[in-house]
Each structure stands twice: as C-alpha cells, then as structure tokens.
C-alpha cells in the first residue's frame, strides 16, 4: 500500500482519535498514550500506515484512542494478530500493546514465540502488577506477598515473572524499559524500538493508582540505566537478571534478521498448481 506523500510534520495530537479513555484519573496509561503519539510524531509516520493491536485489559483499550488503524482483539492474543498482520503486510508499522496479565499470563506462550519468531514489530507491555479491569487481582508480575486481593488471600506466594529475562532467553531482538512517569524518555525508547528491526519488547512501567496506590512512588524509584545498550546476550543476561526493575532505557539490541517471508509469486497463473494433480 503506497501513500503518495507522507504527511508533513504531524504533531502528537494528530495521532489521537479524540475518544475519551475509560482509564481512572491518574492512571499511568494516559502518559503511555502520550509517549506513543510523541514517538509517532517524531518518526513522522502517516497514521494510515500504522496499526496498533491490543488484547484485553485497561491498557488494551489504547487502540480506540489513537488515529491509526487499530485492532482490539481478545484477551491474550494481541501478538498473534499483530504477527499475521505484519507478515502479510510488511509495508506497515505494526505495534502491539497490552498489560502484564494479557501479555505474560493468558498470552504468555505467544510472548515467548513472538520473541523467538522475531517479526519486525514493537510490543509495549504496560506493567502495573495487577489486573485492573477485573478490579484488582494478582498478575504474573505481582510480588508474592501482595495481600490486597480476595482471590489470593495472604498473597500468591509465587515468585513474580521477569519479562525482560524471558524476552532475552526467548530471542527478542530489542529489550528496553520505560516508564509512564517520564513520557519524553518513554517516547525516545519507543522510537528506538520501532526503528530497530525484528521483535522489540518495551517493558513500560505504568502505575495503577486505584488498586496499587503505592505505585505512585515509582516515579521516585525509576532511573536511567547507567549503561549503553549491549549487543552481547551474555552481558544482557547478567544485566537483566540483576536488574531491580526500575532501570530505564534500552538494555539490549540484537542483530538477528527479522522473520519476513518473501511475498513474491513465482508462477504467472494459479492454474500452474493444477499440474501436480494431472495424471
């Protein structure tokens, strides 16, 4: 799909649809929405050539608030939808977005395989360590002793999942962390992620002020990682496994070629396929 002329310098607001978000006041996701529009404006992307796919959850409501093509799919399946779209339409800029429950619990298998498959797309997981839409249950990234859910009295007693480590082990080609408390910094990371070929994973800290009000302190805890992005998976592994979950920035940049089958016909006419059946 060719577009005649890329739009002349769009502003972040040009990427917004104008639909009012369902999010609670103070939700981190507002800033993520802002960061995404800033990143798109920075890259001067034509909105019609961008698609953002999401699953189910508070953060997965995002596509409706953007003026790009969007798909609000079922719970946990944003990555397969985005994969099918990008593989069959490599001309598009494809993003997937969602929360920690959507991406790491119900969609955990797709996360692992999307990292491994390395299709050229950017996956933003807004992590608030809680299921917000269903009113406050533990997610895979919740600490084991978090005791505020009726579903898991006394806490889950299960160690949290480390998405960046899993992403590296599974083969993601770009791994970064950003925070909704710093939308400009997050926008920079997103630009970096979208420009990097292959599967880019952005772990986006995005506090839930309703069910995890203590996360308001995150803005005091996050800080820029005092390191440059590494291309060495062994260095990245050590970095990610000793990480305290609050270092921001691009932490790993791989050089694996993206998965993209060539979509070029080698026969002039589909009746060529009949030949295999003729006796």
């Amino acid at each position: 799909m060719e577009t005649a002329n890329p739009c002349p310098s769009l502003k972040p607001k040009d990427y917004k649809s104008g639909t009012k978000p369902v999010w609670c006041p103070g939700c981190g996701d507002y800033s993520v929405l802002l960061a995404i529009t800033k990143a798109m404006a920075e890259m001067n992307l034509s909105p019609e050539n961008v698609a953002l796919v999401s699953g189910i959850g508070c953060s997965s409501r995002l596509p409706a608030y953007l003026n790009v093509y969007g798909f609000h799919a079922v719970h946990g399946r944003a990555l397969p939808v985005a994969t099918g779209l990008k593989v069959s339409r490599p001309d598009l800029t494809v993003l997937a977005a969602g929360g920690d429950g959507d991406g790491f619990s119900i969609g955990g298998n797709h996360f692992m395989h999307a990292c491994r498959r390395n299709v050229d797309m950017t996956y933003i997981v807004m992590d608030n360590q809680v299921y917000g839409m269903t009113k406050g249950q533990a997610s895979p990234t919740t600490d084991p002793d978090w005791d505020n859910s009726k579903l898991t009295p006394g806490g889950t007693k299960i160690n949290p999942y480390y998405p960046l480590v899993v992403a590296l082990a599974s083969g993601a080609n770009f791994i970064a962390r950003a925070s909704s408390t710093d939308p400009n910094g997050a926008a920079k990371v997103l630009v970096d992620a979208m420009r990097h070929p292959g599967f880019s994973f952005v772990h986006m800290l995005s506090p839930c002020v309703t069910f995890r009000p203590e996360q308001k302190d995150w803005k005091k805890m996050v800080r820029q990682a005092p390191v440059e992005p590494t291309t060495d998976p062994a260095v990245a592994a050590k970095r990610l496994m000793t990480d305290d979950n609050f270092f921001l920035g691009t932490l790993y940049k791989g050089d694996r070629p993206a998965y993209q089958p060539e979509l070029k016909a080698t026969v002039d006419n589909i009746s060529d396929l009949d030949k295999g059946f003729i006796l």
């Binding site: 799909m1 060719e2 577009t3 649809s17 639909t19 034509s46 909105p47 019609e48 050539n49 961008v50 698609a51 796919v53 409501r61 596509p63 409706a64 953007l66 003026n67 790009v68 093509y69 969007g70 798909f71 609000h72 799919a73 079922v74 946990g76 399946r77 990555l79 397969p80 939808v81 985005a82 994969t83 099918g84 779209l85 990008k86 593989v87 069959s88 339409r89 001309d91 598009l92 298998n109 797709h110 692992m112 395989h113 089958p261 979509l263 070029k264 016909a265 080698t266 026969v267 589909i270 009746s271 060529d272 396929l273 009949d274 059946f277 003729i278 006796l279």
Partner: protein, 585 residues
C-alpha cells in the same frame, strides 16, 4: 462381476461396476506406496477410483492397509466387500476385520509360507500363495510390495505399461536403478499371477476420456483455498488436517502467499484475523481439538467482521478420540460452539472433489459477507485419494471483499440494508478505524448501549440471511416420496444406495446439504415437496444432524434417524438396507 459391457455406461442404474482391493502389510512394507501407484496407474489406463489409507495410531510400524476401489465410473465411497485381499505379511492383519469384508468369491493372496489369521480365513474366499519375498530377493533392489503390485495389475487386467509410466514419474528422483528394480519386481509378480489357475474375470473396461486428476480431499481443499484467493495461512499441525497445510506451504509460496506455522491454534486463528484485517484472505486448517481452541476468536472474527476461513477435517471425538479415523461429530461445535449470538457460515463438502469447490466457496462467502466460514471436511474425504475428472474452474463473478477507500463519512460498521458495511484496510488514508470484539457503534467506538447492540446484532445476521446462496446450498436429485437427507462424506454411500434402489425401480430423493449455516428452511421445504418419509443419515453417535434439522426446519412426513458413529465407514449396503427395512416395516 464381469458384465462390463452393460455396466460401463455412466447412465446405467445401480452401483457402479467396480473392483475392491485391499493391500495389507505391516508399517514400512510399502503397501501405501504400492496402493498409490496402483491407483495412479489405473487413472493412466482410464479408470476412476479411490484409495483410503487405513492405519493404526503408530508413527512407524504397526499395521497398514491401502483400500482401493477401481471402476470405469467415478466412485465416491467404498463397498464393504473386497474382491481381492493381498497381504505382504499378516502381522496384526486381524485388526482390519470389520473394515474389510470378504466372501466366498473373494481372492486372498499371501506370501509363501504365511499363516492367514483365523478372523480373516473365517470370512471365506479362495486362498492363493505367491512367492512375494522370494521373487523380490531374486531381483537386485527388489521389494515384495512391487511384486505384489505386479500381481494385482495382472489379476485385474491393468496394463503393465501404465504402471511403468507412474513408477518412472514417482521414482525419478531415486534414479534409473530404482526404477528398473521396481519394474522388474512388477514383471515378476505379473508373470507369477498369470499362472494362478481359474481366476474369475475381474477385468473392468477402462473408459479413457477427459483429463483425469489424482487428488485427496485435503489437497483439493488447499487448491480451493488458493483459487478462492487465500494468500495467508497460519496453522498448527493436527491429524487428519495436516496434509492441507503441507500442500499449501509450498504452493502458497508460488502464488506470493505464505504459511506460518503457529505455536498453537489460539495463535493460528488470531494470526488469520491479523492477516485478514490487513486485506489478505486468510485460512487455517485443523481438526476438532483445534477448532475447540479457536472458537473464542472465531467469535472475534464474527464480531469485528473480519473474514476468516477455518477448515475442520473431522476425526473421531470427543477429546483426542480416534485421530486417524473419520466421524461427522463436530457439527454441533461448528454450528453452536461460539459464545454469544454469532451468526457465521458453516459449509460441508460432499465428495473428495467437492472439497475444492466448497473451500473456494467458503472463502468467497467469508470475504463477501465479512464473517467467519467453517468448512466441515473429515478424515475420509481428506485422506482418501480419488481419480476424478478435471474439476471445473469456477470463479464467482460478483462479490468478494469490497474494500472502500472513500474517506468521507467512513463508518466501518455502518448500519445499512445489506448488512455489509464498507471495509477499509490499513494504508488507506482517512479510513482508519479500530476493529473490535467489544460491541461497538457504527464508527467502531466501544459501546454498551442497547441500541447499538441490537443494531449490530441485526446487521450481522441480516447480511447472512439476505445473501443469495443459489443452488450451491445443496445437492438435490431424484424424486419419490422417500427422501434421504444427509451431509458431508455420508453423501457418497447414500448416493450409491439410492442408485441400487433405483436399479430396482424405486424412486428415492437425495438431498445433501452443503450449506448448514445460515439455515435455508424455504429451500429445504421446497426440495422435500411431496415427501412422506425422510431418512436422515450421518456418521455421528449423537444424531447431531437429525437434531439440527428438527430444531430449525419444519419438515413433512415421518422422519427416521440413521446415526452411526465412526470409525467404520457407512457403506452403501447399510443405507440400502435401512431404506428397505423402513419400507417393509
């Protein structure tokens, strides 16, 4: 049996004049290879025919049987009875009792010194020994399956040169030495068989004519998909649907498409939704367990009005069931498995060749109506190879996905008379929208308002109800006050049973429904006009088709259900007897 002159005409009544051959051996003995070559050679010589692969669940080893039926007329079902049973060895052969029926006229051929299992010898038939392995050993690179192939060709009057053509083609990659060894084996087997005394004349007269194809239902479904415009496939391997994918992977590539092997069925259906959202007609193939996993997202395709096609090659269920055998028991999940009110298309091919048309049509319907199509094929259609006339090259002149790039007042889910709203695809400026599984307003904005819900529900139903499905909805033939109502792979045995009844001067109507959803009550009532008795035939223990008919159609006269579970095939004789029994009741 040998009355070929009176039976070679395709207009004749009664079951087609035919020969049934079972080629048996343990896994690795090459019976499937030999069976396939025999079938293709029969096609070369101008015959029609079919071959079903029957085997146990073992990956390698175990027992295997190639079940063939050859005829001067097209055949779409097996008979129960076999004229010839040839066993390369008798290991586990008794497992096929029930599937292979012999009588005193059958010929049973085994290797020298072998012991025929009692369960087989008890059925009768004349036993003949041939030195299969001994002859194979006398040839450098010789194999008993090739000797057996030669013997069978000689017995049925198949010209050896037809086999040579097929072997030269199929063994091309293995080199001239392998071809020569096989041909020597065939000649040795043929010479030996010609010395068997008192062989009744089993020869059928071939009717060479039009271009003939050798194709399985799974391959035909793959070709139908590509002819229907499918260029993106995502799938997870599952028996007995995998061959659709194995055929599509290299062939999609040739036409500029792609197949992605997904991590599971949840991924495959959702990848289709992504591919289709991007404007590429998309399809997957699976079997019952995979369809069960996909149902949530098939609902997403319906709600978001994203065209997708899911081919379910049914097998024995529930759960893991009998993966290598056929059954029509996924009808209910295909019709009713989606949560919420989710109108969609369910179609079923009624023969091996029809897997092509029906899959192509299903794709056309999904694309035209912006919905999900489920194609209910099954193991017996999918994994049986048939010799058929070159299928017609159909193209649907109107319809297909209508893509709009008109940005002015674009509403993706606009409520209109046809129910089919304008659809844009990414890349089109000014037509951006968010496809959503949440109920939505005409613009696609999420909405829980009662008015939006009823409007969108009505619209999604209306577009399917108003569409003209034409004559493709069913195959209707014959007349009379008795009708047999069936669907899918049961159509083959029902058709042949009706031919047998017609040969006796009886008039029986056949109605096989290709379109199962949306329901077509007026068309079915018209097709049944004047009918007093309806026999409903299906390969399913729960009589799902019968109950579907009772639920949705106002049918005349008396109804009787013939619901037989797999794994054994429904045979023409069974249907014939059922009609006769009801007549005499």
């Amino acid at each position: 049996m040998n009355d070929s002159t009176s039976l070679s005409s395709t207009n004749s009544k009664g079951a087609p004049h035919s020969l049934s051959i079972a080629l048996l051996g343990s896994g690795g003995s090459g019976v499937m290879t030999a069976g396939g070559q025999l079938l293709d050679a029969a096609g070369q010589a101008g015959w029609y025919g079919m071959m079903t692969r029957s085997s146990g669940p073992q990956i390698r080893g175990g027992e295997a049987a190639a079940l063939l039926r050859l005829s001067p007329q097209p055949v779409e079902t097996h008979k129960g009875r076999f004229d010839i049973l040839l066993a390369i060895d008798w290991l586990n052969a008794d497992r096929f009792v029930g599937e292979i029926i012999l009588d005193e006229k059958s010929i049973v051929i085994g290797d020298n010194g072998g012991t025929v299992p009692e369960a087989i010898s008890n059925m009768g038939g004349r036993y003949v020994e041939l030195p299969l392995s001994e002859l194979a050993k006398s040839i450098s690179g010789g194999r008993p399956n090739m000797v057996a192939l030669g013997a069978l060709a000689q017995l049925i009057g198949l010209p050896i040169n037809a086999l040579e053509v097929v072997l030269t083609k199929s063994l091309k990659k293995k080199g001239q030495e392998a071809i020569d060894a096989s041909i020597s084996g065939i000649r040795a087997g043929a010479d030996q068989a010609s010395e068997i005394p008192d062989i009744p004349d089993l020869k059928v007269t071939p009717s060479p004519g039009r271009e003939r194809w050798s194709i399985t239902g799974n391959e035909a479904a793959g070709l139908g998909a590509i002819r229907g415009g499918v260029r993106f496939v995502a799938a997870y391997p599952i028996t007995p649907g995998t061959e659709i994918l194995e055929w599509l992977a290299p062939n999609l590539k040739k036409v500029g498409g792609v197949l992605v092997q997904a991590e599971d069925e949840l991924a495959s259906i959702n990848q289709l939704i992504g591919g289709s959202f991007g404007g590429t007609p998309s399809l997957t193939a699976t079997s019952g367990p995979g369809l069960a996993l996909m149902t949530e997202s098939i609902g997403l395709a319906v709600a978001s009005e994203t065209p997708v096609v899911v081919v379910d090659v049914m097998r024995g269920g529930p759960s893991t069931g009998i993966p290598t055998k056929s059954e029509q028991s996924d009808l209910n999940i295909a019709l009713y498995g989606l949560h919420g009110d989710a109108p969609h298309i369910v179609v079923a091919p009624m023969s091996i060749g029809d897997c092509l048309f029906t899959t192509q049509w299903a794709t056309h319907l999904a694309e035209t109506l912006q919905t999900a199509s489920i194609v209910l094929s099954d193991q017996s259609l999918g994994q049986t190879r048939a010799l058929i006339d070159k299928p017609a090259d159909i193209s649907f002149v109107s319809g297909g996905r209508s893509i709009t790039s008109k940005a002015e007042s674009f509403q993706r889910y606009a409520v209109n008379d046809s129910g089919v709203s304008p659809m844009s695809i990414p890349g089109m400026p000014g037509c951006q929208y968010t496809a959503d599984g949440l109920e939505h307003s005409p613009t696609g904005t999420p909405s829980s308002r009662a008015e939006d819900h009823i409007q969108q529900l009505n619209k999604r139903k209306r577009k399917l109800d108003l569409f003209d499905y034409g004559d493709h909805w069913a195959k209707v033939s014959g007349d009379g006050e008795t009708a047999v109502l069936t669907w899918g792979s049961s159509t083959g045995p029902v058709s042949e049973a009706i031919s047998m009844l017609e040969a006796e001067g009886k008039h029986v109507r056949l109605i096989s429904m290709r379109l199962l959803l949306p329901i077509q009550p007026e068309r079915l009532v018209a097709a049944l006009n004047g009918v007093e008795k309806i026999l409903v035939v299906e390969q399913c223990h729960g009589a799902q088709f019968y109950h579907y008919l009772r639920a949705h159609y106002d049918l005349p006269g008396q109804m009787r259900s013939m619901a037989v579970p797999g794994p054994l095939m429904i045979r023409p004789d069974d249907v014939y007897s059922e009609v006769k029994a009801w007549e005499n009741a």
